[in-house]
């Protein structure tokens, strides 16, 4: 298989404009005859479904939640970037493009990222027109803030609930199309198989989660917008239901999976408190603007804190190690996410962590409160402090927060070309579900931007290129062999799961998988650990298929069965992530290989050997996946080693 990214010719800044004007179109009369399936209703899925429906396509949208409004995009706190330059601080499309490429540690495709920066402004316009209540200044104009250490203020926000407001905007657009009958909505439905006819994606099998019945749905194109796979780590900031199933089924039907090992670990999350822990909660990155990160200088002090013999306030100023400020004087507490996360892990590995588990560092607002006053801090972070208090029972105005890194976002995903089509004709992937724009590390406030860019302003144009050939296809019957077989395969798989009748719960397997992934494929990875992890995952997978216990039946509302299907897929994906991490012997972005570091212990990228996208082809569970490489060529930016010293 030869990978063709289908990047249009021409100079980088003109590629998209030119392409958009020349890409093939489908006439309004023909759009009516075309069905598009959209799986997932987060920012990418909802915006795509709504926009495609507005254009006149017939859309079927699916989500596993009880309402499209609940997709996990809703939990994004910080904001959304756009190169509007409203603050007159010198921002531009090129700067946003450059920051994104550099932030991604030069592992993203230039043309896609440039397009993302180009359409970023339109996203803001669209959302404002929908009635999204962005933060405003007293003059009534939109407010911006600097986010994640960028040098310009280009982040638009709606208090700490930007994702919620943007998603509700997209959901409202979707609702409007549902009312018009242009979108048929299937809530509490999970896509469990892609149906292939003559090498093209022609539909899906979905499980009605309430009745347990399998349904066949046909479409001229299938769009996967099912989000990221961070839940492979069990503990992450993802929602409980976030899963890889739709993307994984696509992968097994022939779609290549890009850069699966690129996961983002967010430095400011609440630490784990016990075995019962089901998820980790993110505290907005903005806290690092005023909070100072530290651990005690000595292990003895740390131990005393861990055992509850000492409090943070008992540690004298001279005995505190503000390690980010010490190691990275230029950026201090505002170093990028991956750097901050790794530094926290190092401090805790040295035995200087501060929670009973030893896995936490302090984020201290004492100095900021002394400098600015409690009122200013409260105005900036009041809701976050309340949330922290609610969850932990500690008051951050009086005692430092305890934070620890947690899995937050997955840059990897289904490999897509410039049109956002996977290697399977007619099968698209948008938003976090694709690999496309963030390289090895995503910048803050860029996930919302990418999801909405794909859904509102990219896919509605690029999908026409494929669908222009489908206008004569006519209605696709779901009675064909392909649909019958696909449904049979799903039924067999579910029967097999139900028939195991073992002793251990699905959750317990998931938890064990998560531990393996976190330990060996988390913040720091090496060959030995990854090799071991691969065997462990395989063994766990075998154990799962012989000893999992799923109560109830297939023909009813059965959340345990749903979960089992998802965990079964995670058990396969986990292995691919480990394999990908093994092959990538360099350190870059969120992927830190212990074998590849500078003498000072910083990440060392290897552009000579690894300036490519790993795109993996499924080759059966017994065989090794096949690696395809998309070489990344950089015209507009010069590759440099990131330095935050």
């Amino acid at each position: 298989m030869k990978l063709d990214a289908k990047i249009p010719a021409g100079a980088l800044p003109e590629k998209w404009t030119k392409y958009r004007s020349t890409v093939r179109l489908v006439s309004p009369a023909n759009k009516r005859k075309i069905d598009i399936i959209v799986v997932g209703t987060g920012l990418a899925g909802a915006s795509a479904a709504a926009s495609l429906a507005e254009l006149g396509y017939k859309v079927k949208a699916f989500c596993f939640q009880d309402s499209p409004r609940r997709a996990h995009s809703i939990a994004a706190q910080g904001g959304i970037n756009a190169a509007k330059n409203y603050q007159n601080d010198g921002d531009s499309v090129f700067r946003l493009f450059y920051d994104t490429i550099k932030g991604g540690d030069y592992r993203a495709r230039e043309a896609n990222v440039h397009r993302l920066a180009e359409v970023s402004g339109s996203i803001i316009d669209q959302c404002v027109a929908q009635g999204v209540p962005f933060a405003r200044e007293y003059g009534g104009l939109l407010d911006n803030r600097s986010f994640g250490g960028t040098q310009v203020s280009r982040t638009f926000y709606a208090r700490g609930q930007t994702g919620q407001q943007l998603l509700l905007g997209a959901y409202s657009a979707l609702s409007r199309q549902i009312e018009k009958g242009q979108v048929e909505m299937f809530s509490r439905h999970e896509m469990v198989e892609v149906v292939m006819v003559d090498g093209k994606a022609r539909g899906i099998i979905a499980r009605d989660l309430v009745s347990g019945k399998l349904e066949r749905h046909s479409g001229h194109a299938v769009v996967i917008a099912s989000g990221g796979y961070g839940n492979v780590f069990y503990l992450s900031t993802n929602a409980m239901g976030s899963n890889v199933t739709a993307a994984w089924k696509a992968h097994k039907q022939g779609a290549l999976f890009g850069n699966p090992c690129f996961t983002q670990i967010h430095p400011t999350c609440l630490p784990q408190t016990g075995e019962y822990q089901s998820k980790l909660t993110l505290m907005s990155e903005s806290l690092r603007n005023d909070g100072r990160v530290w651990v005690p200088k000595t292990k003895e002090d740390a131990k005393a804190i861990q055992e509850g013999r000492k409090k943070a306030s008992d540690i004298a100023e001279a005995d505190r190690d503000y390690y980010l400020e010490r190691k990275y004087p230029a950026f201090g507490n505002l170093v990028p996410r991956d750097v901050a996360s790794r530094a926290a892990k190092e401090a805790c590995d040295e035995g200087r962590g501060v929670a009973p588990t030893g896995l936490a560092v302090f984020l201290d607002f004492r100095d900021a409160i002394n400098r600015l006053g409690k009122d200013v801090i409260s105005a900036r972070y009041g809701n976050l402090f309340e949330m922290y208090d609610k969850i932990t029972g500690d008051n951050p105005y009086e005692t430092p927060m305890k934070i620890y890194p947690a899995v937050h976002y997955t840059m990897g995903g289904l490999w897509v070309d410039y049109n956002l089509m996977t290697t399977v004709p007619g099968l698209y992937a948008i938003g976090e579900a694709n690999f496309s724009d963030h390289g090895a590390n995503r910048l803050g406030a860029s996930a919302l931007m990418q999801g909405l860019a794909d859904g509102y302003f990219v896919l509605p144009y690029t999908i026409g290129d494929y669908l222009a050939d489908e206008i004569g296809t006519g209605k696709i019957s779901t009675d064909g062999d392909a649909f019958v077989q696909a449904e049979q395969i799903v039924t067999e798989r579910q029967k097999r799961l139900m028939g195991i009748k073992g002793k251990q719960s699905v959750e317990s397997f998931h938890r064990r998988l998560g531990k393996i992934m976190w330990e060996y494929c988390g913040m720091a990875r090496n060959e030995e650990g990854l090799t071991k992890a691969r065997d462990m995952i395989r063994a766990l997978r075998d154990e799962f298929w012989s000893d999992v216990r799923i109560p109830g039946t297939m023909e009813e509302f059965n959340p345990e069965l749903d979960k089992a299907g998802r965990v079964a897929d995670f058990l396969e994906l986990g292995e691919l992530m480990v394999i990908d991490a093994l092959v990538r012997k360099e350190s870059c972005g969120g992927h830190f290989r212990l074998e590849s570091q500078t003498p000072e212990g910083e990440a060392k990228r290897d552009d000579d050997n690894f300036a490519f996208v790993s795109a993996w082809e499924f080759n059966g569970l017994e065989g090794d996946p096949i690696l395809h490489q998309e070489n990344l060529e950089f015209e507009a930016v010069k590759l440099t080693q990131r330095s935050y010293k």
Binding site: H72, P133, Q165, T281
Partner: protein
Amino acid sequence: MGKENIGLTLKVWRQKNEADKGHFETYKLSEVSTHASFLEMIDVLNEQLIVEGKDPVAFDHDCREGICGMCSMYINGRAHGPQSATTTCQLHMRHFNDGETITIEPWRAAPFPVIKDLTVDRSAFDQIMAAGGYVSVNTGNAPDGNAMPIPKEDADEAFNAAACIGCGACVAACKNASAMLFVSAKVSQYALLPQGQPERKERVLKMVAKMDELGFGNCTNTGACEAECPKGISITNIARLNREFLSASLTPGH
């Protein structure tokens, strides 16, 4: 700080499906960490039930950080439990006492039929939204984001209303199972913003009509919805909804 671990008796509503009559089942849990969230406590119960070969308790949940609006438990007589301005997923066990009996029920309202146990069908809310909870603007039609300044006060107040997470606690808490707080939040958001003006009257008429059609109760202004709303949506919005509706229905041509 109280005890690290507590013992609890749970009285949980069990109902196999919509047609089933349903009943309470009593479970004992020992050694529940006070650091655990309420849903994690239910996870522990379910793990125990699965290992014992019993049917786990079905409940809705997803983000577990208080924003998706999926969790929905009526705990000891209160929607989302005893702590105000908190969703069930963010309620922590330190708010309960050792030896306490906790009664857990689903949201109860005719338009929210029980699917199983504590899981209810809230698609009625989606239907109300589809009836008019949007600004009709196709993608690509938008003027520049700063073309229309909006007074900060209006934007902030619109935001306060827009913070609704659609969990349905207002309906669950209302003695009449009224959905007025939910509807008023969306109507208010758009009534306060210039973008919402062109469809202002039509929107409120359609959304209220849909709300009524779906069988929600009538608001009697008890304020229980506001008290139980995890996002602190104010009943001032209900006053605004009333005003908007009266004005729209008294305007000729609508």
